[in-house]
């Protein structure tokens, strides 16, 4: 039974991806394009050479973190649509420190990264507090906070970090996650050391959730608040904590962009979508840290590869369609398992 589950745990996503690509191909044929060419382009877009691989990795980096941000809250029964805003404030804070503080790298870089996490954590604290103390639904609060983050960040970039400019200076080298070495290695891609932080964060989440009393409490509160209270846990504290940690992950994602990819923060006229993609990544990864990493990789590859698809005459949006379908299939794993079981029975 359990071995069965493990088998399914692997089979279902794989099958889903294949199905997604097949349907994608059908759509392409319908709008008479050659799917082979298109998928080749997709592949090249992501793995053509060291550069594209580097770019793919840097695209995966923040997705892992926003994925974790959503997944972590989910474990406590909270739906964090606010990763978007948490990314923005994390980005802003990290770059802010990167610009204003003057310190050797060993201090400056960690400080800047931490600033990002803290800012994100604060942005998670607000809905956490309101939920815990007043029972205000976190979904609305986080949605609203997304917009607030966007506008406030723009305002600060314009009037505090710059004199009415659209984009800040580049951060001090001592706060940058980028590295000559990686750039040379990947023909000047923007790949940076953030990927290590992201992977480490995934391990952290796994550890907290699976191995610590904190995780034990967070999950218990997610499953049954009454029993948690009966068992002497502080329900409010756990709700807040969960949102703060989740926010911190998203804040880190922002820091990755600010300190790694762009090295600056700009006035943005719309959301980064890192947070919203994070929802998909988390759910695709079944809210499991390692699942999240795999899902982020899949997303990153598809999104990066999409850039090449127009060269094969396919609008990049096809990739969104494919990703959506994959999510559907994974979500509907019940039916896939059912079919698989049928086959197994036939087999016997």
């Amino acid at each position: 039974m359990t071995s069965n589950n493990r088998l399914f745990g692997i089979l279902v996503p794989v099958i889903s991806v294949i199905l997604g690509l097949i349907v994608g191909a059908i759509i392409m044929i319908a709008s008479d394009v050659n799917p082979i060419e298109a998928y080749t382009a997709l592949w090249n877009g992501a793995f053509y050479d060291a550069f594209t691989i580097g770019e793919t990795i840097r695209r995966i980096t923040p997705l892992i973190l926003t994925g974790l941000a959503v997944a972590f809250a989910f474990r406590t029964g909270l739906f964090n649509i606010g990763a978007e805003g948490q990314v923005i404030v994390g980005w802003l804070a990290a770059v802010w420190v990167g610009l204003t503080v003057d310190a050797p790298m060993i201090i400056h870089l960690p400080l800047a990264v931490l600033a990002g996490a803290l800012a994100g954590g604060l942005w998670g604290f607000i809905p956490g507090l309101l939920k815990a103390k007043l029972g205000v639904h976190e979904v609305i609060v986080t949605i609203m906070l997304n917009y607030i983050a966007l506008y406030v960040s723009n305002e600060i970039v314009r009037n505090v970090l710059t004199d009415h400019g659209t984009s800040t200076e580049q951060i001090a080298a001592s706060a940058s996650l980028g590295s000559e070495w990686l750039q040379n290695l990947t023909l000047y891609s923007r790949m940076h050391y953030g990927i290590l932080i992201a992977l480490f964060a995934a391990i952290i989440m796994w550890f907290i959730i699976q191995r610590t009393t904190v995780g034990y409490e967070l999950k218990a509160v997610g499953f049954n608040q009454h029993a948690s209270k009966y068992a002497g846990m502080n329900v409010s504290k756990n709700i807040i904590l969960s949102m703060v940690i989740a926010g911190a992950f998203a804040g880190l994602a922002g820091a990755m962009e600010g300190l790694g990819t762009y090295g600056s923060v700009s006035v943005i006229s719309g959301f980064t979508n890192l947070g919203f993609d994070g929802i998909a990544v988390a759910l695709l990864g079944a809210n499991n840290p390692f699942g999240v990493v795999l899902a982020a990789i899949l997303f990153g590859v598809l999104k990066e590869g999409a850039g090449e698809m127009p060269s094969a005459g396919v609008p990049t949006e096809l990739v969104d369609i494919i990703m959506a379908l994959i999510i559907f299939f994974v979500a509907s794993s019940y039916i896939i398992r059912w079919v698989l079981l049928r086959f197994k029975k036939e087999g016997k």
């Binding site: 009393t213 034990y216 049954n224 948690s228 009966y230």
Partner: protein, 508 residues
């Protein structure tokens, strides 16, 4: 003899288990037919088959001799079969009327529900069978007893001729039970037939005509109640001798462990439910709190355990003041608590039974060090308790949800007792459990007493109170109105005390 319902050689499987294995039940017109069996024996399943919720793998069902195929509850309803479920099937935010008409609503051409008409109709039926329900009340605001009567109304409103009751008395107070028995009698008088699932042999002896016994999914047979006795029934269902009067040597009370002084507690709706209560529980004695539901028992326990704030007064455990301490600190001070609602408070149903075993102790050595969990230790402890308390579960990794209430309860009791607390509070510890399980749990409580622990037992089951307690504190209107010794009283007197109609014998 005419049979309204015949279930012949029914077989029903669930992944892993055969819940019903070739069971036959025949229901005569106008009889009350008992269905008896241990937890997990297959009673509910069998009835769900009859009600069309499950499809049997084998066997056939006849209604008035006609072979029928009941594929969903609608068909059951049309065949005049109604079911009062073990776990009520009521929509809490709805009113009584809405719940009853749900599914076949009287409506005008606009599709607008004609509530007036429905309420009148329901009022009539309610009066005819003396059900005393208020059609316009919200389910969430009425007592469990009335909720159950709503379930009954639901079946009658659909013109049920055959009513199935699944453990109806498990959730009722003695008063409510008597009312229910009256209702059932008036139902059969009106020519209805009833199948009654219960674990309480007393009830079977009192109201039932015949009794079909099920053991581990198999039909053991049907007996005329008039020709049998409780002991026979019990051994039939368990397959061995069972003793009801849990024998115990007299208590030797020692120092006071729980001391409550002039306690005031408000309930969720901010009204005082505990009003200046005084109570002492000593080491080595079991104090049973007798009382009609709603006289503040729940609030009292929540106050002691720290789940609810007490307005004023003093609670101390072993001379340590625990008034308004957090649940964790109360637990630390030496409290064990078997909660009234095991599914709501007792367990995290989605956690493995093993994880549930350390629900209050996970943060302590050896289960965790520097807040890192040590699963080896946790699951060892779980194995220990599962064995010692004979919790029937595939493994310690099985989610608590998949255990029967009986086994869930054993796990909880094991967990609470294993901490060897100075004070053990047991609220409705045997609700919904079969006699075997009940016997076991009573033994455990008495063992604790003999080990010199103080035990506070709250139960609506008078014979449980009478059996287990060394001292009975009768609770009425938020106060202890009497302290009596079980051997010096009887159910009649207790009933009167609980009803507040006599108030002498106030002790302490």
């Amino acid at each position: 003899m005419e049979h309204v319902i015949e279930m012949l050689n029914i077989r029903k499987e669930f992944p892993g288990i055969v819940a019903n294995d070739n069971i036959t039940v025949q229901l005569r017109k106008g009889e009350i037919h008992a269905l008896l069996g241990e937890n997990g024996a297959g009673k509910s399943t069998l009835m769900n088959v009859l009600f069309g919720l499950y499809q049997p793998e084998a066997g056939e069902i006849r209604v008035k001799g006609e072979k029928v195929n009941i594929t969903n509850p609608n068909i059951a309803n049309e065949l005049g079969i109604g079911m009062v479920h073990q776990h009520f099937m009521l929509v809490e935010p709805f009113t009584v009327t809405q719940n009853i008409i749900l599914g076949n609503e009287p409506k005008d051409k606009l599709g607008k529900i004609n509530l007036k008409k429905a309420e009148q109709e329901i009022q009539e039926i309610s009066d005819r069978y003396g059900l005393k329900v208020d059609p316009s009340a919200k389910i969430s605001e009425i007592s469990v007893g009335m909720q159950q009567r709503v379930e009954i109304l639901k079946t009658l409103y659909r013109g049920a001729e055959v009513l199935i009751f699944d453990e109806p008395t498990a959730v009722l107070t003695p008063q409510e039970i008597n009312e229910l028995i009256e209702i059932m009698r008036s139902l059969v008088k009106e020519g209805k037939s009833i199948i009654l699932i219960t674990h309480k042999l007393k009830e079977i002896m009192e109201v039932c005509d015949r009794c079909t016994v099920i053991r581990k999914g198999k039909g053991i047979g049907t007996v005329e109640v008039s020709e049998t006795n409780p002991d026979e029934l019990a051994s039939l269902m368990v397959g061995r001798e069972v003793s009801f009067k849990t024998e115990k040597k007299p208590a030797e009370p020692k120092e006071v462990v729980l001391h409550i002084e002039d306690l005031f507690v408000k309930d969720a709706r901010k009204v005082d439910l505990v009003k200046g209560l005084n109570l002492d529980v000593r080491a080595g004695e079991i104090v049973g709190i007798a009382g009609v539901d709603g006289n503040g028992q729940t609030e009292l326990i929540e106050a002691i355990t720290g789940l609810r704030k007490s307005q004023s007064g003093k609670i101390s455990l072993k001379d340590k003041k625990i008034t308004n301490l957090s649940p964790r600190n109360v637990t630390k001070s030496g409290l064990g608590h078997i909660p009234q609602d095991r599914h709501k408070y007792g367990l995290v149903l989605d956690y493995p039974i093993g994880a549930n075993i350390v629900l209050q102790t996970y943060y302590q050595k050896p289960f965790s060090k520097v807040s890192v969990l040590n699963y080896k230790e946790i699951y060892n402890k779980a194995k220990e308790i599962i064995e010692e308390y004979d919790v029937r579960t595939p493994s310690e990794f099985t989610p608590a949800r998949a255990l029967s209430g009986g086994n869930q309860q054993k796990a909880i009791i094991g967990r609470e007792i294993d901490r060897s607390p100075d004070l053990l509070i047991a609220a409705q510890p045997t609700r919904g459990l079969d006699v075997g399980a009940i016997e076991f749990i009573h033994k455990k409580l008495i063992e604790e007493r003999d080990k010199g622990r103080a035990v506070l037992l709250v139960s609506f089951e008078l014979d449980e109170i009478m059996n287990v307690s060394d001292r009975i504190a009768v609770m009425f209107d938020g106060k202890i109105v009497a302290n009596v010794k079980p051997e010096e009283t009887n159910e009649q007197e207790l009933g009167l005390l609980m009803a507040g109609s006599i108030t002498e014998k106030v002790g302490d």
